[in-house]
């Protein structure tokens, strides 16, 4: 692993890879690390609640069969790929998160396309990789690919734009990203996008109710707090993530106001994800571990080596994922 064994005992908990702990690791580190719950539990809770709210309050167009098949396929493909590649640990939580995300975003004329989406999402994590990280947020990859093929769509209006809903989702999403220590991406994205929307409306002389209405959109909130925040597919350093988030916000605005197409954030994220390796190359930092949420900043007194595929095990279990995924 990137953190050398020789300095393990000096690292504070946030700098220790829990997966490589040895029996001689000081007890305080073990205790502190184990107290930090895997942030994916919180994501599963949030996404599951949002799905139930969507189904029973907002009347989403998604059948129980589609939900079952999507989640079942995601878990099945995760398991099969783990087995086929002889990897340790079946990371079902990550697959479940990807499946839940697809349930409330993915829409298609055939239920089998939902199965295909779940398959593509999970498979992309295992097979489209660069330097030990998967390139695309799994959910985003499947959505963008199938929308590009013209066989699926996302209904950005389905959440409505009630301020209450937006507020609730900000809170829930904020909690999730805080747990996974990647709130900087979400915050940078929403600030950048808000600045663009407000600036455009000011330039056009529109009343502020217009950009506010756009910012209250439920789909935008879900993207912000459950998709772009994916710690496994964002740059490793805070500076990199802020840069990346600003680029995605600009891309989303171009899709919406130059190309006049819906789902700008999803398209922009898919188009810009391949930039992450470049940003990581220019701004190196340690990779994220689900079991050890960290901001990517090296603790004072420690020297983190840039992570790359050579020094790190291939562990899609922990490398999968994501929130929104």
């Amino acid at each position: 692993m990137g953190t050398g064994a020789a300095r393990r005992n000096r690292d504070p908990p946030s700098g220790v890879d829990v997966g490589t702990m040895t029996p001689d690791t000081p007890w305080t580190q073990n205790t502190l690390a184990s107290r930090r719950l895997d942030p994916r539990w919180w994501q599963i809770g949030c996404l599951g609640s949002l799905l139930l709210y969507g189904l029973f309050r907002l009347g989403f167009d998604v059948s129980p069969a589609q939900i079952a098949l999507t989640i079942g396929t995601a878990l099945g493909v995760q398991w099969a790929c783990t087995r086929a590649l002889r990897l340790q640990g079946f990371e079902w939580k990550s697959a479940l998160i990807s499946g839940l995300g697809l349930c409330f975003l993915f829409r298609a004329g055939s239920i089998w396309l939902a199965v295909a989406a779940a398959f593509l999402a999970i498979a992309s994590k295992f097979f489209i990789r660069w330097n030990g990280k998967h390139l695309w947020n799994p959910t985003n990859f499947a959505l963008a690919l199938l929308m590009l093929l013209g066989v699926a769509w996302v209904s950005p209006g389905q959440w409505g734009s009630g301020p209450t809903l937006a507020y609730a989702m900000v809170c829930a999403g904020g909690f999730v990203v805080n747990r996974s220590a990647r709130s900087d991406t979400s915050v940078a994205f929403i600030i950048a996008y808000a600045v663009i929307l407000l600036g455009r409306s000011l330039w056009l002389g529109e009343p502020m109710t217009i950009p506010l209405h756009r910012l209250e959109n439920g789909a935008l909130m879900i993207f912000t707090f459950h998709m772009i925040s994916d710690p496994k597919t964002t740059p490793n350093t805070r500076m990199g993530r802020v840069l990346y988030a600003a680029l995605v916000a600009a891309g989303a605005a171009i899709v919406a106001f130059v190309l006049f197409r819906p789902n700008g954030p999803i398209w922009a994220l898919a188009a810009l994800s391949p930039l992450v390796p470049l940003i990581d190359h220019l701004l190196p930092g340690p990779q994220y571990e689900w079991k050890r949420p960290a901001t990517g900043h090296a603790p004072k007194g420690t020297q983190h080596e840039p992570m790359d595929g050579r020094t790190r095990n291939f562990t899609p279990g922990s490398a999968v994922g994501a929130a929104s995924s």
Partner: protein, 456 residues
Amino acid sequence: MAVLGISLLGALSAPQAHSFCGFYVARGDAKLFNKASKVVLVRDQDHTVLTMASDFKGDPKEFALVVPVPAVLQRGQIHVGDPAAVDHLDAYTAPRLVEYFDPSPCQMRAEEKAMGNMRAAPMSQKASADAARERSLGVRIEARYTVGEYDILILSAKQSSGLATWLAENGYNVPPRAERVLSGYLKQGMKFFVARVNLKEQTRLGFSYLRPIQMAFESPKFGLPLRLGMANADGAQELFVYALTRNGRVEATNYRTVRLSSDAEVPEFVKDEFGDFYRSMFRQQHRREGGDVVFLEYAWDMAWCDPCAADPMSREELKGLGVYWLDAPGDGGGPGAPRIAPPGGGAQNVFVTRLHVRYDEAHFPEDLVFHETGDRENFQGRFVIRHPWRGEGECEGLDAYRTQVRARREKEAETLADLTGWSPERIRRRMGGDADWSTPQEPRPWWDRVWGSPVR
């Protein structure tokens, strides 16, 4: 004084599919609503054909239409349509009422097996301004046409204040708030399509009413500008949008699209006041959803309908509304077509979506934006009445049937009260007036059967 605004009105719809075995008896069309605009939106890729019909009933001199358009339109891109085709499409997609008749309970047992699988499945239902003045205001008349009974100008402007002044000087009633709206559209590079009635032409053509204006253009923008109309409006306006697309249902991307209630069983008297029912039901649902949603009232593959609330649209009508792809090889009603083709043949590769929007500035701050989905599932706003059997006879099942009918009527009354917000007392009164022995009443308690009449 002319009216500045945009005649845009909306529509309603509901989900459906499968077979239908009731009888269509009534429909609720857009005429039931005041200040309603009807817009037919034909969309394929970036091609749009817009047909705008308003319920303007005043002096034609007072009529004016101002619509932001993405480019300067050529003469051939503007047309005047047939109002009958728009009305026909409105009727074809309107929410509908169907009725069923109960069979004799004395024969029910025999027919039960046959009827077992026949549940009603969800169904898919002046511009002569001085040139120098124009220049000083920064307004430029890009084109000037007379099409049918309309004089049409395509304007561009440098400043919204100049455009507002020009419009005011030319007899258009420009509300103060509209100038700001005009500014936003101008900065986006949009032009203004301005139409007024040419009375001489109207007299020559012999029309006593205003025909819908149509325009065809190519633009990635897929939506409807509401804001200019709202600047001119007092209170909420109704908009019915009939989208005709090649692939599937159309929905809003910046507002929730909600299906209208459908398939509810309602009391028999609704047949006589379906219009009132539809208005009340829409008002109630609009309020419940918070007033900021778009209602889907009908989404259907136009190759067939079931039940058909009006005769199917002919190919000529659809072409007149702008469905240009009907001429493509393989389209149209040839071999290989509809499973349940309506008489006269349905149009293939045309999917109709009827959306109904009641909008005001507080709930619809931005213009409507749409996208076409791949969803081809049929949906229609459909309501059902079931007539009880009122025959004479005596048989073992009759008491049970009457009890069942009373329970059903109670349920229908509750459903109607919930859908419309009408008072239960009014509903009960109306229901009582059209029935005899099956008037809703409290079911007889079990103990009443033990001792019979109370002891005196």
